[in-house]
Amino acid sequence: MDRNLLYLFVAFFVSWLVMGGYLWSLSRQVQNLRDEVEALESADVPTATQAGAVGETRAQTDPGQA
């Protein structure tokens, strides 16, 4: 392969690799948050307001959003 073409290929490959890695890290963060919300729900949530707030949090971690 032409060396100049190699630099072009590597530049694009590295860029998409880093962006892909970042998107993967975002999806991991969403998964971790979902686990934490589930843990909170399974814990003894004492008041109705808190339960409502956790429900709200769950709505925000909807897979369609992140």
Partner: protein, 244 residues
């Protein structure tokens, strides 16, 4: 009500994601097929179509980070801090990519991976500022102090951006001067300029989409932390009550 609002925002996010993917695919087509090969630099010149839009987004991130920081210092609202945190993370990713793609472009054209040129050095300083931002957040202790200190650092980062931009005018550098928005119009053929603009639009959409995702994640993180704190307090109260 909350669920309905959540699903509506989810649809907007999904729609924006689809539009971003379509525009990005069009930009890639234009970069490799539509735009002609540069007569002087050859194939490596095509790195320009990602390097400059990525740099623009890195600078935009720094500006948004500073706006979030100023907003937090004035209002002390978590919303401003979340905005700053979201933009800082994306800014760090994009500044890293500017340095990497610049290095990969510089090697075949300048014959070196790196030189202590004014623009490269000031961009590296911005990268260190982004890195310092996250170190401050991790080690500053209580949340308010971390937010205040990092807000100040974010503002300093934004001051570096015009210095990066004007460095090619202020100092003798290896890095080329402005070629896009000059008094005589773009110093390149129309097809190259159009390709650049489509790429810039694609990366701007990507930034907006990433910002939305990251802001929502930070928002939920704050709520979860708050609930965990409330739950721990409540459990401590119950334990105290049982002990009595």
């Amino acid at each position: 009500m909350v669920q309905r609002r959540g699903s509506a925002m989810g649809r907007v996010s999904a729609g924006l994601g689809v539009v971003t993917a379509i525009v990005m695919a069009a930009a890639l087509y234009m970069m490799f097929i539509y735009a002609p090969t540069d007569a002087v630099q050859g194939q490596p010149q095509r790195i320009f179509y990602i390097h400059v839009p990525i740099a623009t987004i890195a600078f935009l991130s720094s500006f948004v980070l500073a706006v979030g920081g100023i907003g937090y210092l004035v209002r002390r609202s978590q919303r401003w801090d979340r905005l700053a945190r979201a933009s800082a993370e994306i800014g760090l990713i994009f500044t890293t990519l500017v340095l990497l793609t610049g290095s990969l472009w510089g090697r075949p054209i300048w014959g070196t991976w790196w030189t202590w040129d004014a623009r490269l050095t000031t961009t590296l300083i911005l990268w260190f500022i982004y890195l310092g931002y996250f170190m401050l957040r991790a080690y500053a202790g209580d949340a308010d102090r971390a937010a205040r200190y990092s807000a100040v650092l974010g503002i300093i980062g934004a001051i570096d951006v015009p210095i990066i931009y004007l460095s090619v005018d202020w100092w003798r550098t290896l890095h080329p001067g402005p070629v896009l928005f000059t008094s005589g119009g773009p110093a390149m053929p129309g097809s190259m300029f159009v390709t650049f603009m489509v790429s810039l639009l694609a990366f701007t959409l990507l930034y907006v989409w990433l910002m939305y995702q990251k802001y929502m994640i930070e928002s939920v993180k704050d709520r979860v932390a708050e609930r965990q704190f409330q739950l721990a307090e409540r459990q401590a109260e119950i334990r105290e009550g049982m002990a009595l």
